[in-house]
C-alpha cells in the first residue's frame, strides 16, 4: 500500500454541544479511491467537513501528506491541494458558469486553462458560460463542480453525495469522470449514500455508523453487508 496522503486520527467533532464523531480514524492513501458509505446521520458528511476544515475538531488530528493541518483553515487547505465538492451545492448559484470557474483560480491555475479543460470535457458548459449556475439542471451543476476537480489538478479530491437528486445515468457518467481523475494519480475520497454506484470504482470502502467507522475493506467484501445496513429489515417477512 502507498503512503497516506490524508488522515483523520482519533477525531472527535460535532456541532455546538453535540458530538457527532466519536473518535474516527480514517486514512486515504496516495492514488487510491476510498468510498465512505453508510446511512444518513452516521457522520459521513461531518467527517468530510472535518477533512476540508469547515468543522473544527474537539480532539484528534488531521494530517495532509503527513503534516498536521488541524489548525489550518479551509481556504489554505484548498490552496494546498485539497479539492472538496460539498453535498448538493458545489456551485455558486448566483454566479455564471465562467465566474464559477474564476473562483477556482485561487488554487493557482489560470482562468483560461480552467476554461479550456472544462469546456473541452463538458461542451454543454461551454455553450452556457454566461448562464447563472443556479438556473442549470442538477447534472450540469455537478459537471461544473467537477470541472474544478478536473482543471485545478488537486492532490486529493473529496466528494460528498455526488449523486444527490440526480438521475442514475448522469450519476454513473459522473463517476466515470471520477475514475478518470483517479487514474491521473489523484487520491479520492467519496462519501456516498448510493453504495453500488461507487463500489465499482472504489479501491477500498469504509462503512460508518453512528459516528464510528465500523468496517473497512475491499468493496466486494462489503457489498454483501450493505443492503442490511440500509434497508435493515431486508429479508425479514
Amino acid at each position: 500500500m502507498n503512503e497516506p496522503i490524508l488522515e483523520l486520527v482519533d477525531v472527535r467533532a460535532g456541532y455546538g454541544s453535540i458530538e457527532v464523531l466519536h473518535g474516527v480514524s480514517l486514512t486515504v492513501h496516495r492514488g487510491e479511491v476510498l468510498a465512505l458509505l453508510g446511512p444518513n446521520g452516521g457522520g459521513k458528511s461531518t467527517s468530510l467537513n472535518v477533512l476540508a476544515g469547515l468543522v473544527n475538531i474537539m480532539s484528534g488530528e488531521v494530517r495532509l501528506t503527513g503534516r498536521t493541518v488541524t489548525d489550518v483553515g479551509p481556504d489554505k487547505r484548498a490552496r494546498l491541494g485539497l479539492c472538496t465538492i460539498p453535498e448538493g451545492k458545489g456551485v455558486f448559484p448566483n454566479l455564471t458558469v465562467r465566474e464559477n470557474l474564476m473562483m477556482a483560480t485561487y488554487t493557482g491555475a489560470t482562468l483560461s486553462d480552467i476554461e479550456d479543460v472544462a469546456y473541452a470535457r463538458f461542451p454543454r458548459l461551454g455553450d452556457r458560460r454566461s448562464q447563472l449556475a443556479g438556473t442549470m439542471s442538477g447534472g450540469e451543476q455537478q459537471m461544473l463542480a467537477m470541472s474544478r476537480a478536473l482543471a485545478t489538478n488537486p492532490a486529493v479530491l473529496l466528494l460528498d453525495e455526488l449523486s444527490m437528486g440526480l438521475a442514475p445515468l448522469i450519476v454513473s457518467s459522473l463517476y466515470e469522470i471520477v475514475a478518470q481523475v483517479a487514474e491521473t494519480g489523484v487520491s479520492v475520497l467519496v462519501v456516498e449514500q448510493f453504495a453500488r454506484t461507487v463500489l465499482g470504482i472504489a479501491d477500498r470502502a469504509a462503512i460508518m455508523l453512528s459516528g464510528r467507522i465500523t468496517r473497512v475493506g475491499a468493496p466486494d467484501e462489503l457489498a454483501e453487508e450493505l443492503s442490511s445496513a440500509y434497508l435493515g429489515g431486508k429479508g425479514q417477512p
Binding site: 455546538g16 454541544s17 453535540i18 446511512p39 444518513n40 446521520g41 453535498e87 448538493g88 453525495e161 449523486s163 444527490m164 437528486g165 440526480l166 438521475a167 442514475p168 450519476v171 454513473s172 463517476y175 456516498e192 449514500q193 448510493f194 453504495a195 453500488r196 454506484t197 461507487v198 463500489l199 465499482g200 470504482i201 453512528s210 457489498a223 450493505l226 443492503s227 440500509y230 434497508l231 435493515g232 429489515g233 431486508k234 425479514q236 417477512p237
Partner: protein
C-alpha cells in the same frame, strides 16, 4: 389529504389516511422536506392543491392550517431555545388554547406528553443542552399538544439510538391507534418498515413506488433508487 406538484417536486400525489402511518422514503434531495413545507404552508407550491379532510386549504396561511389540524416536526430543529423542555411543550398547549374551542390545562397536558415521550428526566433542562434525538422528541411532543388530525414527522428518529428508536416506533403505533394520521419521512428504513401500513417512495421529486412494506422491500425499483444502479459490471 392530497397534494400535487411543487418546484422541487413534479406531479406528486401523496395521501395520508386517518388512523394509519404512511411512510415517505427516498434518497436525500428527493423533495420530502419541500413536500412538508408545502403541506404546512411555509412554502407555496407553484401548482397543485392541498386538501384536509376533503376541504381545500391551499390558500390558507400556515397558522390556519395548523388550526385545521396539521402539525409537524422539522428536520432542521426549530426548538424554542430560550425555553426548557417542559415549557417548549407547554407553550404549544397554550398557543392551542388561544385558537381552540376546547380548553386544556397546558401544564397537566404537557406532563402527560413528557411522560409519554420519555422526557421526564430532561423536562427542566434547556432544550439547547439535550442531545438531538431527545430534541426531536420535544418537537414531536410540541406537535402533539395541538392534538393534530395529521402529524408530519420529518426524520424523527435521526439522532436516536437503536433502543430509543424501538420505543419510538411503539409510540407511533399507539398514536395512530387513536385515529391520528401520520406522515413519516424517515431514513431509518427498518423503523419505516415496522410501523407503516403504506409506504410511498419518492425519487427525483416523483413517486416511483408505493405499497405495503412487504411490496416495497421486494420492489427492484426501490433498491435501485436507494443503492443506485449496479455499476460494477
Amino acid at each position: 389529504m392530497k397534494f400535487g406538484g411543487a418546484a422541487a417536486l413534479s406531479d406528486v400525489n401523496v395521501t395520508a389516511e386517518a388512523g394509519a402511518i404512511t411512510g415517505l422514503i427516498g434518497p436525500n434531495g428527493a423533495g420530502k422536506t419541500t413536500l412538508f413545507n408545502c403541506i404546512t404552508g411555509l412554502l407555496q407550491p407553484t401548482s397543485g392543491v392541498v386538501f384536509l379532510e376533503g376541504k381545500e386549504v391551499s390558500s390558507l396561511p400556515p397558522y390556519k392550517r395548523a388550526r385545521g389540524g396539521v402539525a409537524r416536526t422539522f428536520q432542521r430543529l426549530e426548538l424554542f431555545t430560550s425555553l426548557t423542555v417542559r415549557d417548549n411543550i407547554r407553550v404549544a398547549g397554550e398557543i392551542r388554547n388561544r385558537w381552540s374551542r376546547t380548553r386544556v390545562d397546558p401544564r397537566a397536558e404537557a406532563d402527560i406528553v413528557i411522560e409519554m415521550l420519555g422526557l421526564t428526566r430532561l423536562a427542566d433542562r434547556d432544550v439547547s443542552e439535550i442531545p438531538t434525538g431527545m430534541a426531536r422528541r420535544v418537537e414531536m411532543g410540541r406537535a402533539l399538544m395541538t392534538r393534530p388530525k395529521i402529524l408530519l414527522l420529518d426524520e424523527p428518529a435521526s439522532g436516536q439510538d437503536e433502543q430509543e428508536t424501538e420505543e419510538f416506533g411503539d409510540l407511533l403505533l399507539n398514536l395512530c391507534g387513536d385515529g391520528t394520521a401520520i406522515l413519516l419521512v424517515e431514513h431509518d428504513v427498518s423503523l419505516v418498515m415496522k410501523v407503516c401500513s403504506f409506504i410511498q417512495v419518492l425519487d427525483f421529486g416523483r413517486v416511483i413506488a408505493s405499497g405495503t412494506p412487504g411490496e416495497i422491500q421486494s420492489n427492484p425499483a426501490v433498491l435501485e433508487a436507494y443503492l443506485g444502479e449496479d455499476n460494477r459490471a
